[in-house]
Subunit: 484 residues, 2 copies
């Protein structure tokens, strides 16, 4: 099961994906949407078989994993909807303007076409939602790209069975053979990443692995885009007014968030900034002490957590507030600013640091100490904190891809407006998202047709708009027809 | 005038740009649109002063350069319009859905925010449209990014004066100091590209220079996006029916296109594929023979053209059809397929190759011999060639960013639907365009606000939609208000 893909098998997977690229690119968007819905239905139908495998391989509990299956199938259906509605293709039509200055303008019709075979490096911490059937795969299929998933070694059997379920659903639905493939082994993944048939790659994982793969992708003879979700600290900043209004809820909400999934979320809040004299330490310690010890995803992650925790505990100025199923550390902004590089390093697992600030100037300085993050959260009171929030939100915006108000960063809703990504090093390719409809854009490139007759245009660009999709025509979004 | 920027001057330019980033990001889109319009007006007003400098430094004729000024100011106004209309900000709002499965959905509001200071490497061949006041600068300013332009050494005085005109217009209009800066010198540009304050770069120029700068940008400690427009062959494929219907027009149109601007367009058609026995050679030779010799942009380009031409002429199987102000070479698909790497290498200047094919299979094989191009053109007859065109267009689409029907690739209209870019090596970053409204997207990243009160949100995200811009609300594009 955990045997690496052989060179012959990899060659076959790459050939199959390359062969599928043309037919997939030529498929009508509504037909492709049907294939994607078939995959979603098959996943839901296979949940009873897949979830137990995932439980065994990931040590995650059943309700969480069932939720992930629903999230993944729902995500596939969202992309199918966006394909049918048409916005995923970003059709833009400017009809000819013989009067345009300084020169007459031709008829131009643009849409997004698939890049070609996409390599997806699956993550360990979401065995469904960021693995074989996850967002990278879903968005690439919606774009019309064949996908080869490099399975995560943390859940090999689940990866194989998930791929089998999806491939069978695609086959029955009539999708081209080679639309989806699975490979195993780190070196195999690197070999695939260097192959000229691969046109883009998605990755979710650690900063070192992401950086190494990114460098391979962008320095190939033919560089390709590499979209990496790496690490993130996801700081939470709490105002005095928020402490006064709902301190206890903040304490329990925070502990619940940083220990969710045994602290193995890329959106885990790694630091909580509280005003000095907040009086919440007992409540925080109580909540953290109530967290039961739970197994981590795999031995490698458990070892990484253990050594990371040892490192954090030994830093000058860090004290241990609570130790057990969850570890709560404490420090001050003064200490943090004295050694930011030591303290601001992600430790993947159930640990977080409470940091006390002594003034709003210090709070602002703490915000400014951060590099790029997936999320940044402000816990504040609308009435009392409007001015402070007005000052801090632009600083948080400059450092994060998602800014939360009085929420917790764990949990990434799948919707049109979602953004999951952030300035480096939280992601490589911060102008793109790995969650939400616009995630498909990572695997599409524009093509504009100039003065091309209706009969040979892709159907979605034709005057009559046969599929009735949303298109921007001469600057305005419409589902109507076009006259030349 | 051609002195390199000193280290102290570069440091000042970078500091000024970094200082301008926050105020620019905070500027209301409509206000920013006003600044951009002020720049457009100033350029138009300064045309009488700038065009003579450009004529002297580039050897290009006055009408062409006046057209370029109009194109550049028009482009700036297009971005201003798209800012005010709002689509440039790509606002997406999904209101909260407490009933959503598997988990309730929060209120999410996404927009695109500026990346930060952008470095633009100007091109030589369009002293306005792809230089200091060109598309990279215009789109980055529209995105809300400060811009530092690395001037092209081919027109140093024009670069300085253009920047002065633009900087003064920005100052008078009230834009932050540091919104635009100019630096000179290749090494200075490389130093700037490595500076952590630079967050993205745009480039138009040669393949070797583009590849070298790309590698620097993406292997920095903090990698940044690098958008490079490199070389392109822009093949034109002519069917027998098109020859029969309008062979002479094709011959003269082709010569006009490949000699436009002394062949110094990145969209110059480098090859014309004609059916064997086309009977157009006399007409082609006559047209090419009528092209007067004209000076090239600068000595470096003239030398490059001369050696490139020598190289092409010496290739086995290439014959010279016409030689003079324009050089027309001839070969066959058989010869081309025997040595594609020799023949399919861009030669920047007034030279092009007529290639004869003996069957539609050979025509298709010729199409498939190409790598990525900015454009690919089919000259065909709608009535006779529907089937052939249906076969060739997908192959052209796979290899080009813009596909033309019965036109010539020189001339890139500035509009919503335009796409100027193509698969590698014609551009690095083929999913982006350097012309058209979506060019701004290269310098923007998404940020999503979760459950954030109206009063602290950016104005464009607020319920009341005070600026009345286009927004996607719960999946539908509207200019209306939102209720929570």
């Amino acid at each position: 099961m955990t045997t690496d893909t052989t060179p012959a098998e990899l060659e076959q997977a790459l050939t199959d994906a390359a062969d599928a690229a043309g037919p997939l690119a030529a498929s009508e968007p509504a037909v492709r949407a049907g294939w994607i819905r078939a995959v979603a239905d098959a996943l839901d139908a296979a949940a009873d078989e897949l979830v137990p495998i995932a439980m065994r391989e990931s040590a995650l509990p059943e309700p969480r994993l069932r939720g992930e299956v629903g999230r993944s199938s729902g995500q596939l259906r969202m992309f199918a909807d966006a394909l049918e509605e048409g916005s995923l293709l970003e059709v833009i039509i400017d009809t000819a303007d013989p009067q345009a200055k300084p020169v007459p303008r031709p008829d131009l019709r643009r849409l997004l076409v698939p890049l070609g075979p996409v390599l997806v490096f699956a993550a360990s911490n979401f065995p469904f939602a960021f693995s074989v059937c996850g967002g990278d795969t879903a968005s690439a299929l919606a774009a019309g790209c064949p996908v080869i998933v490099k399975a995560h070694p943390g859940h090999p059997e689940l990866s194989v069975r998930t791929a089998e379920v999806m491939i069978e659903a695609l086959r029955v639905a009539g999708a081209p053979a080679g639309t989806l493939g699975l490979i195993q082994g780190y070196d195999v993944g690197v070999t695939a990443l260097k192959d000229p048939r691969i046109t883009a790659a998605g990755f979710t994982g650690s900063v070192p692995a992401g950086k190494a793969l990114h460098e391979i992708a962008v320095t190939r003879p033919e560089p390709i885009p590499f979209y990496g979700e790496l690490g993130s600290l996801n700081p939470v900043f709490v105002t005095q007014a928020a402490v006064d209004a709902r301190g206890n809820d903040i304490a329990t909400g925070y502990v619940g968030s940083f220990t969710l999934g045994v602290g193995q979320f890329c959106t885990k809040p790694g630091l909580l900034f509280l005003p000095a004299g907040h009086g919440l330490e007992d409540k925080l310690v109580e909540a953290a002490g109530g967290v039961a010890e739970a197994p981590m995803l795999n031995d490698r992650i458990a070892e990484g957590f253990s050594s990371g925790l040892d490192r954090l505990r030994k830093i000058d100025g860090i004290r241990v507030l609570s130790d057990g199923g969850a570890t709560l550390l404490g420090t001050t902004v003064t200490e943090l600013l004295a050694r930011p590089e030591e303290i601001l390093e992600e430790c993947f697992g159930p640990v977080s640091i409470v940091v006390e600030y002594s003034s709003t100037d210090e709070l602002q300085a703490a915000v400014e100490a951060f590099e790029g993050n997936l999320t940044a959260t402000l816990q504040a009171e609308e009435s009392a904190d409007a001015e402070l929030a007005g000052k801090l939100l632009p600083l948080l915006t400059a450092r994060a891809g998602r800014v939360l108000w009085n929420g917790w960063p764990t949990g990434v809703a799948v919707s049109w407006a979602q953004h999951h990504g952030g300035p480096f090093p939280s992601s490589v390719g911060s102008i793109h998202t790995s969650v939400g409809v616009t995630a498909a854009r990572r695997f599409q490139r524009p093509v504009a047709y100039q003065d091309t007759p209706d009969v040979v245009l892709p159907a979605v660009l034709r005057d009559g708009n046969p599929a009735g999709i949303s298109r921007r025509v001469n600057g305005t979004v419409t589902t109507g027809e076009v006259s030349r």
